[in-house]
Subunit: 141 residues, 2 copies
């Protein structure tokens, strides 16, 4: 456990990092003609594979009511499709279409470009360490 001062500094560095990423993502999606909420859904589905509405809503931090209309628009835009799930006839799985996969791939490339700019500030060993830290942190919350 680190000291309170370090915790505070990490906290503010994380907030700044998060705000910068948000700002970048917002600008990027505006240029691609898709909304922030929609690209978030595509990113999560691309990383996790098909998800039920409830699980996707949890990962997005929104209610299922909000997600229903979001998925409606994603379907209309041809990026995802709804699928019935075996085992629970109430549940609906959301899956990327081929077009959705492609948008995910393109967006992922933009992220990779940004990641390269970020990690230019670190050498190879530090990148390894940074990756290890991130993975452990992601598991911790």
């Amino acid at each position: 456990m680190a000291s309170d001062v370090i915790q505070q500094q990490i906290n503010h560095a994380i907030i700044e990092f998060y705000e910068r990423l948000s700002s970048w993502e917002q600008s990027v999606v505006r240029d691609q003609g898709v909304s922030l909420a929609q690209i978030h859904a595509v990113e999560i589905l691309g990383a996790n594979g098909p998800l039920r509405m409830k699980d996707l809503a949890d990962k997005l931090g929104v209610t299922t009511g909000t997600l229903t209309v979001l998925v409606d628009r994603l379907v209309k835009n041809g990026l995802v499709e709804r699928q019935t799930t075996e085992g629970d006839r109430r549940a609906v799985a959301v899956n990327l279409t081929a077009s959705g996969q492609q948008m995910f791939a393109e967006h992922d490339q933009l992220h990779l470009q940004l990641t390269k700019e970020m990690t230019a500030a670190l050498d190879a060993t530090e990148c390894q360490q940074f990756l290890s830290f991130l993975e452990r942190i992601n598991r911790a919350f």
Copy 2:
């Protein structure tokens, strides 16, 4: 410079980290009765002090048209105030009110709590390194 494989892994770890933070923030602000966009503005103003509309819009990643209506609502909610700036009569500075400062402080405390949960996965030395990496990355993009 690290290998492409490591870059890819870091990229996906960053995306996951970002998505989790977004989800957390979205849930937190819902419980506080304020919107995500509004708390982002408050966070940025709290960290940077008064900003002109253009600068704040840049940091949020939105257009000035969007920001105008956002600031209108923040003013109505008593969280910020518009101030004239000396030197350029076109410019408008946005500043947190006392109430806005308080909301910033409360929200910052919630972030600190989350940061502590995250960094529980790291020891003191690793926290120091992680902070150093974040600060350098924040400077790099």
